[in-house]
């Protein structure tokens, strides 16, 4: 059997596509992050001029020197970390409940979690503006109930950004948790109960340790995209929100400084390289 040429025929096209449109673009980002900004089209200096290599670390030094970028970098990590923790606390009982629900309900409940994931991300974030703004639904309800006299500041702050992240990424936490919890045999908990463990103890010593792979997958799937998030800080955060994704966007579209935007992208990738490598491991683990 001539399986080698056939294998080549199947793999070559997607391989070439991914090299050209996935790998090469990163090398270009890296290259431009080492170039100078220039008033030209495109707005950066060439790396090679008549055979000589021109590179500069100026963009990275600029990022290191300006506390704005540090704050945006750390701000993104902080928002993402808090949001990941909240999605875990909220998502775990939800996933557990679905996994233990009667079989005829499980499909429907699961679909109810998946449906928002398919629904427009932008629209789901936008929906919160109408609820949170000063003359929005929540403030209106609280004031008509007489609970508050003046509107609460619910939008354009840390609260609204965290809320938006939790809301948008909750399905990413619930699905891997459910996949893991569904595999657990309820008989394990019954055995623990028969041996005299109260439900709380059975949970801590049996269910929780066995669901750790699902927890790890959920944490990674929420944390990674949350760090790079742009839409949520832009729509729900104020104009001064410091998150690296928003700063990158502004550098690129407002300041038109492509080299600094590229350096920011490389900095974000360095931060996410380890968690992204772990995701691949997790996916492989659950696949086989």
């Amino acid at each position: 059997m001539n399986s080698a040429p056939r294998r080549f025929a199947i793999v070559a096209l997607p391989y070439a596509w991914l090299l050209l449109f996935f790998l090469v673009p990163f090398l270009i980002v890296l290259k431009i992050s080492l170039a100078h900004e220039a008033v030209a089209i495109p707005p950066y200096t060439p790396l090679f001029v008549t055979g000589r290599l021109y590179v500069t670390g100026a963009n990275y030094l600029f990022l290191l020197g300006d506390p704005l970028y540090w704050k945006a970098y750390l701000g993104a990590i902080r928002y993402a970390a808090i949001a990941t923790l909240v999605t875990l606390l909220l998502g775990y009982p939800l996933a557990y409940g679905i996994a233990r629900a009667p079989a005829r309900w499980r499909g429907l409940l699961l679909m109810l979690v998946i449906l928002p994931f398919w629904t427009s991300f932008l629209i789901r974030v936008y929906a919160w503006i109408g609820l949170l703004k000063d003359n929005g639904l929540i403030n209106h309800a609280l004031m008509s109930l007489g609970l508050i006299d003046a509107p609460l500041r619910l939008i354009d702050n840390d609260f609204s950004i965290t809320l938006g992240l939790v809301y948008a990424y909750l399905p990413f936490m619930v699905l891997p948790l459910y996949a893991q919890l569904e595999k657990l045999d309820p008989a394990l908990n019954e055995a623990a109960a028969d041996l005299g463990a109260p439900p709380i103890r059975a949970f801590w010593q049996v269910t929780l340790p066995l669901s750790l792979p699902g927890i790890a997958a959920g944490i990674l799937l929420v944390f990674i995209p949350a760090v790079g998030e742009f839409v949520i800080p832009d729509l729900l955060g104020g104009p001064n929100t410091l998150m690296i994704g928003k700063i990158l966007w502004d550098e690129f579209f407002t300041n038109r400084d492509w080299p600094v935007a590229s350096a920011l992208a490389i900095a974000m990738l360095l931060l996410l390289a380890l968690p992204m490598g772990l995701v691949r491991r997790q996916l492989r683990g659950t696949g086989s």
């Binding site: 294998r7 199947i10 793999v11 096209l13 997607p14 391989y15 596509w17 991914l18 449109f21 996935f22 673009p25 270009i28 980002v29 495109p42 909220l90 009982p93 939800l94 557990y96 409940g97 233990r100 629900a101 499909g107 109810l112 449906l115 928002p116 398919w118 629904t119 427009s120 991300f121 932008l122 629209i123 789901r124 929906a127 919160w128 503006i129 109408g130 609820l131 703004k133 003359n135 929005g136 809301y167 909750l170 399905p171 309820p186 439900p199 990674l220 990674i224 995209p225 742009f230 994704g245 579209f253 935007a261 590229s262 992208a265 996410l272 992204m276 995701v279 691949r280 696949g287 086989s288």
Partner: protein, 264 residues
């Protein structure tokens, strides 16, 4: 004997689903509100739907999104299926690790990095070889295919790994050429995954703001880009109406995809 769910779990589930659906419900309800204000219910009205259909900018953008998304979904389906087949059937070949890494990385890559890097590639290519000449719906489609390949590959690979290969072997033993085996045996068996993958790639493309913003040209503004610039200015009843229409379409599609994936 199984015990029922504890009251704590049931409460958390109810709260969780209310949290997931209340904002969406508020958008739907207010799309039918005669008043512009979210705090005033001025009666049932379809006026925002009328205004939406009369809005030319939104109409043009929707047409562009409906052009890009099928291209992106079909391209992603073909390439993603090849990736899945290559990874599921060939356990070792030169460069397999890099191939698998490149195929799954876009799943978790922040969109802003994917968008920026693809734009820089297009600009560099245009400088070097004159292609692509400017940015248009095709550059958006290329970017969305690259994103969608990873999602299609994951779905199809799971399906390929789970089905009975003896059918393929039997067809081959009976003299069917590999390409015939693939189209007569393999494709029908993985059809639900192919359909779900295409739908997911379509939705990802139709919904994407960030990557499209980087890779779109001046004449190829997509629907999410128009929604975004309108939403940045505040709540708009027309966007509520548009959101409701998108929600209805997505619900029908997901219910359909769910059925496809469950029929085995």
């Amino acid at each position: 004997m199984r015990r029922g769910l504890s009251p704590f779990i049931v409460t958390m589930m109810v709260l969780g689903f209310v949290f997931l659906y209340a904002p969406i419900a508020s958008v739907v309800v207010y799309s039918f509100n005669a008043s512009r204000l979210v705090t005033v219910w001025a009666g049932f009205s379809l006026q925002w739907y009328g205004a939406l259909f009369a809005n030319e900018a939104i109409g043009r953008a929707a047409a562009i999104s409906f052009e890009v998304a099928p291209m992106a979904a079909t391209g992603a389906l073909i390439l993603g299926t090849l990736v899945a087949y290559g990874l599921a059937r060939y356990r070792r070949f030169a460069g397999r690790t890099l191939f698998a890494a490149m195929a799954t990385a876009p799943l978790v890559m922040p969109e802003i990095i994917t968008g920026l890097s693809l734009l820089l590639l297009f600009v560099a290519l245009e400088q070097a070889i004159g292609w692509p000449a400017g940015r248009n719906i095709f550059t958006i489609a290329i970017a969305h295919i690259t994103l969608g390949v990873a999602f299609v590959a994951v779905i199809v690979e799971a399906r390929l790994a789970s089905f009975d290969r003896t059918l393929e072997e039997a067809a081959a033993d009976l003299g069917a050429r590999p390409i015939r085996v693939f189209f007569v045996i393999t494709v029908p068996l993985i059809m639900p995954a192919l359909a779900a993958g295409w739908l997911l790639a379509f939705t990802l493309s139709f919904d994407d703001l960030v990557i499209a913003s980087f890779t779109a040209g001046p004449a190829s503004t997509t629907l999410p880009m128009v929604i975004f610039s309108s939403v940045r200015l505040g709540v708009s009843p027309q966007i509520n109406a548009l959101a409701t229409l998108i929600l209805i379409a997505v619900t029908i599609l997901v219910a359909g995809a769910n059925r496809l994936l469950r029929v085995r």
